[in-house]
Symmetry: C2
Subunit: 455 residues, 2 copies
């Protein structure tokens, strides 16, 4: 067997439908509530922000949704993404585990995010929308939406979390090359931004704040809609191309995973890989353990409360039931900007609650140590977010070395770290800080979470 | 036909041999000369710097050289690289031309350079070498060698041109993640570096200076060899996997190119794509025009003299017959760092001299304008070097719009520009300078080029 195995699919084997997990669940997830009435929201409540096609996908009970041809044409620019066997990493760890990783960093934007930005731009363009607004933390999502809007001829305006805007000027330029307009958030161009700046002039920003700004601008202009890169059902739906491909790729070499690991910030990359495997698990065809990995400094699943909260900081969005650290919580400045979110996808939260997935939290030094080992054995330099999944996989591979188990481990490596070298430099020079869980800050933020009767 | 076409190869279709153009040439290229005796160099002259396997490949008359299994295993990590049809670019340009591009940016180091760094590290490791030294301009080559040495357990020491060291700190960190030690060149750790710094304390460095430093350290330590990322025959040989794949990919869809364009700095990416097509041209199977594209600020082929010169600035290397602007020439700080070399691969120079390839020079603003158009239509953000080839292809596509010709154009897109966003930012803000050809500086540098009797 060669040292390295890379499994790709023929164009004819690419998924042509997205997979919707919800109809297959033993318990349906709780409804999304209107923030004023606490009643379930309807399509009209969401129409100012999203095109009808995406609102339909948000609540669909169909198990499969056809991928439009124009979206497939663009997916084919980089899909299928490769599934690699990490033979060199296995040898380095001297583990009997067989480690595979699904690598989404080959997309033009460098992550899994274009899997949803492309259909979102497509459906908005179809419905006559002129401009999309959004937020971005690490810059991966903003880049992905800038790319997608360039391809469909839409304008794009991005609020980039201030800490990231300063740390990652290259991400900003990348978005500008694709034609987007980029603001540092909190900005002076929205009421939400001005309010935060008045209260906290040096705010490093947060995803919640940036969402408030992007939502405000979209809500105020009939030709503009808002686009979210994670959390929502339709986003998770679009990402299922990842797991469908991985299932087909593993089947080609006759492997069945014992463990799937993916990092969770909003939950879209994890969901994209795991939902098609969950379908197989629920159907009794395989029985993998499915594990979310989150930063110890922002551990919404392992430490947050499961209750209704706002998706943004100001409190403009509907209420969703999720594991939350409080919508006002601003995490410490860890380098995994994509994992600095106060909540978790409602669907992932629900899966955790009903015991279909498990979770663990890892500190960033262990993650970067894992990343350097990965880079020196597998070549690829991962983004800070998937280093969490890699670190968890290495933990498992080390356990297998002790027990002798030949576990098959599948890792979601959702993006490259080409814009995160400052973080690597900080790690290599021994300056990286492992922030403790900010118990008091979370307790304070939780006080502002609304109480929903009977939920 | 879908809007986008991406052609890949099965693992079984990957090249298993490198192609050597030299035996197929109507006129053999001139020999490499010893700088002292002006006699042709022999293997012993090169042995302090290179392992015997590579010296053998440098002078081989075999048409094909087997790729070792351990090298193939690593190539398979990212090869075959995709061949894309640029349908969106064609539509944007409203051209009847059919434009294809071979994209090497999917390698872990982000360019075509690992195609040769991997075999170079392999052969050195096989012969017991402990450390490799090299220079890097844009950082692509240094990254590629750092990656390859990490995979084969060698040490790596890189001299990065000072201008690039300052402009691109991320490239330095990337090399460090893979375990390399990186110096800014001219450095204080070599005689060559100290000499240059004494003469010119603020020197921005050049590839020629950095080569002098890396060669000096390798020559002084029996366990250390030197590794070059372009120019030499064995480097060009390794890169022919690109063109062999592209030939097979075009054959799959029944296309024959009318024009190949590639950027030329040292010449390795251009050669890698074009040599297998030149084989077909010489055999009478097709008749493509093959065009080198170089920066107007460093135009070795279109403005340089064809004569024997040193490969480095200090004059430590053998003498090679090439198009040169003088080994002491330091180009203006254009952003295509990989194209800031005073000379050109002797083999490419020879092809230009005997009329098998042609050349043109383009200013950097036109190149970046082409790059932004490319990014907004094809998604991919190219490195500054291949923007030269893209700009040349767009010139041709625009000519085809006038003439109605349905030319098939194949572009070598040799790397991504993720570490070059500063250059894009400079372009987008209107600050990018088109340096005029420095006639007087070149004339001055040419005075120091040695005179070789009878050559």
């Amino acid at each position: 067997m060669p040292d390295h195995v890379r499994i790709t699919l023929d164009e004819s084997e690419l998924p042509t439908q997205w997979y919707n997990l919800i109809p297959d669940l033993p318990v349906p997830p709780p409804p999304v509530l209107h923030p004023g009435t606490h009643e379930p929201v309807g399509p009209d409540d969401l129409a100012p922000l999203f095109p009808m096609a995406l609102i339909g996908q948000e609540v669909t009970t169909d198990s499969y949704v056809d991928i439009p041809g124009a979206v497939l044409d663009i997916y084919r620019m980089w899909r299928s993404t490769p599934l690699h066997r990490a033979r060199r990493l296995e040898q380095h760890l001297d583990t009997p585990a067989r480690i595979y990783y699904k690598y989404e960093g080959v997309s033009p934007a460098g992550s899994h995010k274009p899997n949803t930005s492309v259909p979102q731009a497509y459906y908005n363009a179809q419905e006559g929308v002129k401009k999309l607004t959004t937020e971005t933390g690490a810059g991966q999502w903003g880049s992905a939406l800038a790319l997608a809007t360039a391809l469909f001829g839409l304008e794009c305006e991005v609020w980039q979390v201030a800490a990231s805007f300063i740390q990652k000027p290259y991400r900003k330029t990348m978005m500008e090359v694709w034609g987007a307009k980029v603001h540092s958030s909190p900005s002076e161009v929205t009421n939400a931004g001005r309010q935060i700046r008045a209260e906290s002039p040096d705010s490093p920003g947060s995803l919640g704040i940036a969402i408030s700004e992007a939502v405000e601008v979209a809500a105020g202009d009939p030709d503009t809609k808002y686009s979210l890169g994670s959390v929502l059902n339709h986003v998770l739906l679009h990402q299922t191309v990842i797991g469908q491909e991985a299932l087909a790729q593993l089947a080609k070499i006759g492997e069945t995973p014992d463990l799937l690991v993916g990092c969770t910030g909003g939950g879209s990359n994890f969901s994209g890989l795991s939902f098609p495997f969950l379908r197989e698990k629920l159907a009794g065809n395989m029985n993998p353990t499915i594990r979310c990995v989150e930063p110890a400094a922002c551990p919404s699943l392992t430490r947050g409360e499961y209750r209704y909260d706002f998706g943004d900081t100001i409190g403009m969005t509907p209420l969703v039931k999720m594991h939350t650290l409080g919508h006002g919580f601003v995490p410490d400045p860890i380098h995994a900007g994509g994992l600095r979110y106060h909540g978790m996808a409602p669907l992932v939260s629900h899966l955790y609650e009903i015991g279909l997935v498990e979770a663990e939290a890892i500190h960033q030094n262990e993650c970067f140590q894992a990343a350097v080992t990965f880079a020196r054995t597998e070549g690829i330099l991962p983004a800070p977010e998937p280093t969490h999944a890699i670190a968890a996989a290495i933990r498992e591979a080390n356990r297998c070395r002790e027990t002798g188990e030949e576990k098959v481990v599948l890792i979601a490596v959702c993006g490259h770290g080409h814009f995160d070298l400052t973080a690597y430099e900080t790690y290599l020079s021994g300056q990286l800080v492992d922030y403790e869980y900010p118990e008091e800050k979370v307790a304070e933020a939780m006080k502002a979470v609304p109480v929903v009767a009977g939920a």
